[in-house]
């Protein structure tokens, strides 16, 4: 049982939680994740660590409301407890002095990027960050990223800021105008990471991405999280979650992630309408979520 000590609704579909988990906080490293189970009937699902405080014994996570599990988690409030949290899982990010780094993130990838940038900076790297969001209303933690990065660029999908609509356009222009980049780290939506790899490929810049396949145990026991990297099958939970994006079989990843679409919709729809109403009240989410 892990108590939620702080909850914030960052933007309407993205929630931030700070939870008590002292032992995990002591061992957490950038790039690692935890697996949660919200309640006794809940599934096991992974969330990246967006921060931790060894002294206070707390972890920070932030998540996008996608379906039943994340919706249930969003229904919990400060003072409530999460049934199970296990971690820290996965290999930590390889933090070395690479030189100039471009960090690219969107949505829930913004969370894990913060501690990663901090650690990269401590190793003497220069970090330039590009964050992508759909529009102004879905933008969050711009200030946090600014405070840890050397430079920060924001790319908005509706084109309301600057001339770019996608990070790919930004990256291509950034590299074409002669900026030297030694390594790219990309975290967030799969399509954003794929896009990012497409942009860096012609310049042959190693691009590390954080993969998010479906998981069950998170300890190498089931093989559900298998992905193909450079033609080899890897288990994301123990061999990753970070891989060389130029070697990832993206099509396979996307197809495997979509394997349970029907069941996910069913689980979500059959979930008690009462609970949905309660969430809407508690977290002041837009009314439309409660009628889904």
């Amino acid at each position: 049982m892990c108590k939620i000590v702080k909850k914030e609704i960052l933007v309407p579909n993205t929630i931030y939680l700070k939870v008590e988990a002292a032992e995990i906080a002591r061992k957490a490293k950038p790039g690692q994740f935890v697996i949660l189970r919200v309640d006794e009937v809940g599934e096991r699902f992974p969330l990246s660590l967006a921060g931790w405080d060894e002294d206070r014994g707390t972890l920070e996570i932030l998540f996008l409301i996608m379906g039943k599990s994340t919706m249930k988690l969003s229904a919990l409030d400060e003072g409530d407890c999460i049934r199970d949290i296990v971690g820290p899982l996965g290999r930590p990010t390889e933090i070395e002095s690479y030189g100039n780094i471009l960090s690219v993130c969107s949505t829930f990838g913004i969370g894990p990027m913060v501690p990663m940038i901090k650690a990269l900076k401590e190793k003497g790297n220069k970090v330039v960050t590009a964050m992508e969001a759909r529009d102004k209303a879905s933008l969050f933690w711009e200030d946090r990223l600014k405070s840890v990065s050397d430079e920060t660029y924001v790319v908005l999908g509706d084109g309301s800021l600057g001339k770019h609509r996608r990070v790919r356009e930004f990256i291509t222009e950034y590299l074409e105008s002669g900026n030297k980049v030694d390594r790219v780290f990309a975290f967030g939506r799969i399509f954003m990471m794929m896009d990012c790899c497409r942009a860096t490929k012609p310049f042959d810049i190693k691009t590390i991405v954080g993969l998010t396949p479906i998981m069950v145990d998170g300890t190498g026991m089931c093989g559900c999280c298998r992905v193909s990297v450079g033609g080899e099958t890897k288990f994301t939970c123990v061999d990753g979650p970070e891989f060389d994006g130029h070697l990832v079989d993206w099509e396979l990843l996307i197809k495997r992630k979509r394997a349970y679409l029907r069941e996910e919709a069913q689980a979500f729809n059959l979930w008690q309408p009462d609970n949905l109403r309660r969430i809407a009240e508690l977290s002041e989410l837009p009314e439309r979520i409660s009628v889904m």
Binding site: I24, K27, E43, G87, V216, M221, L252, R258, A259
Partner: protein, 473 residues
């Protein structure tokens, strides 16, 4: 013995759900003896002077004595005798391969009718669970001796070692990676063979001895073995099992709808996917399911698939019936329930439906050749025998290998070439001082009772070592 009793060689059969009914539900298949049936079976035992049964039991249960207590109607005594040697009798009575252990060495086995020791063991354990007040009265008072032992993994090996050490006065903490204790007993062996309430009541018994179980603790991640030794534990017993899945390594194996047996069973048993959507974890079986391999794990996976609603379930195995490694009883259960065996057949690739799901498997026929290293005839591919079988789900059930998390994070642990931890069989000692190992991690995938036997030997040696009566090397 005054008069020579007449031998009765007719084993009392155990009532079972009929195959037509049970193939569609997750309730326990074998229903257990009634009082009368148990008494009748116990009365067949002739209380031998040189009781062969005892030699066949890896944890040395005093079998004739507990059977005698059943006969005398003294159930608390029967339970006490069992529990003094076996902390998990309700589990062992259900899943041990008695036919190769105590029932094989029972003196009546030669005559063709060994005592059904497993069923009687189960009967006593179930009686005790229904009479918790008795266990309470029998609880021994334990005095702590001030020493602390960490146990990694809460499968049968971990639970046994912890219980033995707790009874000797040690403070024991079990660290378990998953969100429930029990290991394969919870995530692998299905509900219909081993109900989870029984596993949990035996886990509760271990806790009642003072053992603490820390769930959601992956050793190697949240703390390393070295950190445990530095932070107050006098000894560490490793029992993390051999939980990593083995795949076929053929093209198409990453298509959706192809589950390792571990994933399929974990979703079904641990996460209760058979109760979806009441429970959140989904599983897909479709109409036609192919299970590859013919061990106990394959039998369990195929029988789960039936119960999840599959219309046709195939066991695909490259050798013939006689080489099948599964227990005869499980094979028969599977056959009765309608699992179809396709022997001397091997897969060469999976075919997708264009949207990432498995649609079919290409199989080819095999012939048996000369014996290989394992002594079994080597299966050889018949040229030109390829054919395609349409399937919705595929489950490779080819066994498991040790998970590298602990070996790769612990300094000075020597491994064997199979990736198991090098362990002295008699004492359970590893190459690292104050670290013992037992169960599947030491031997590779084996049985519940052999894991328990190894854990008992290690507990004895840990006690000797910590009391200072032996040196490490």
């Amino acid at each position: 013995m005054a008069e020579k009793p007449k031998l009765n060689l007719n084993r009392v059969p155990i009532p079972k759900q009929t195959p037509e009914v049970r193939r569609r539900n997750f309730n326990e298949v074998a229903l257990g003896y009634t009082d009368e049936q148990a008494l009748e079976e116990a009365s067949r035992c002739i209380d031998c002077k040189k009781a062969g049964c005892k030699d066949g039991c890896p944890v040395n249960i005093d079998i004739p004595e507990f059977i005698k207590a059943i006969r005398a109607g003294d159930m608390p005594e029967a339970a006490r005798i069992l529990k003094s040697k076996n902390s998990l009798p309700g589990i062992c009575g259900r899943v041990c391969p008695q036919e190769t252990q105590c029932e094989m060495t029972c003196n009546l086995a030669k005559k063709g009718g060994p005592i059904a020791i497993g069923r009687l063991e189960r009967y006593v354990a179930d009686w005790e669970r229904d009479h918790p007040e008795i266990a309470e009265q029998q609880k021994e008072r334990i005095r702590f001796n001030g020493k602390k032992v960490a146990v990694v993994g809460s499968g049968p090996a971990g639970l046994t070692c912890a219980a033995d050490l707790a009874k000797l006065g040690y403070e024991v903490i079990i660290f378990e990676a998953l969100h429930v204790a029990g290991g394969v007993l919870m995530y692998g062996i299905p509900e219909f063979r081993l109900p989870k309430v029984i596993v949990q009541s035996e886990v509760d018994y271990v806790k009642s001895l003072g053992v603490e179980i820390k769930l959601n603790h992956v050793i190697g991640k949240i703390a390393t073995v070295d950190e445990l030794l530095e932070n107050g534990f006098d000894a560490v017993f490793l029992s993390p099992g051999a939980g990593a899945p083995v795949f076929l390594n053929i093209p198409g194996e990453n298509l959706s709808g192809i589950y390792s047996a571990n994933e399929f069973l974990t979703r079904t048993n641990l996460m209760k996917a058979y109760l979806f959507p009441e429970y959140d974890t989904p599983i897909q079986v479709g109409k036609r399911v192919a299970v590859f391999g013919a061990g106990n794990v394959a039998m369990d996976a195929s029988r789960c698939a039936l119960r999840l609603g599959a219309e046709e379930v195939y066991i695909i195995y490259r050798r013939s019936k006689v080489e099948m490694p599964a227990r005869l009883e499980e094979r028969e259960n599977a056959e009765e329930e309608g699992v179809i065996f396709k022997l001397l057949t091997n897969p060469s690739r999976f075919l997708g439906d264009g949207r990432g799901r498995v649609r079919a498997v290409e199989l080819h026929e095999m012939e048996l050749g000369e014996p290989d290293e394992s002594g079994r005839p080597r299966p050889i591919r018949k040229p030109g025998s390829e054919f395609i079988m349409e399937i919705d789900t595929a489950i490779p059930a080819l066994g498991t290998r040790p998970n590298p998390i602990i070996p790769s994070t612990t300094k000075g642990l020597e491994l064997t070439k199979w990736g198991t931890i090098l362990t002295d069989e008699a004492s359970g000692r590893t190459s690292k001082e104050r670290v013992w190992c037992g169960g599947d991690m030491a031997t590779g995938a084996a049985t519940v009772i052999s894991a328990m036997g190894a854990a008992r030997r290690a507990a004895t040696d840990i006690d000797k070592y910590l009391r200072g009566s032996t040196e490490w090397s």
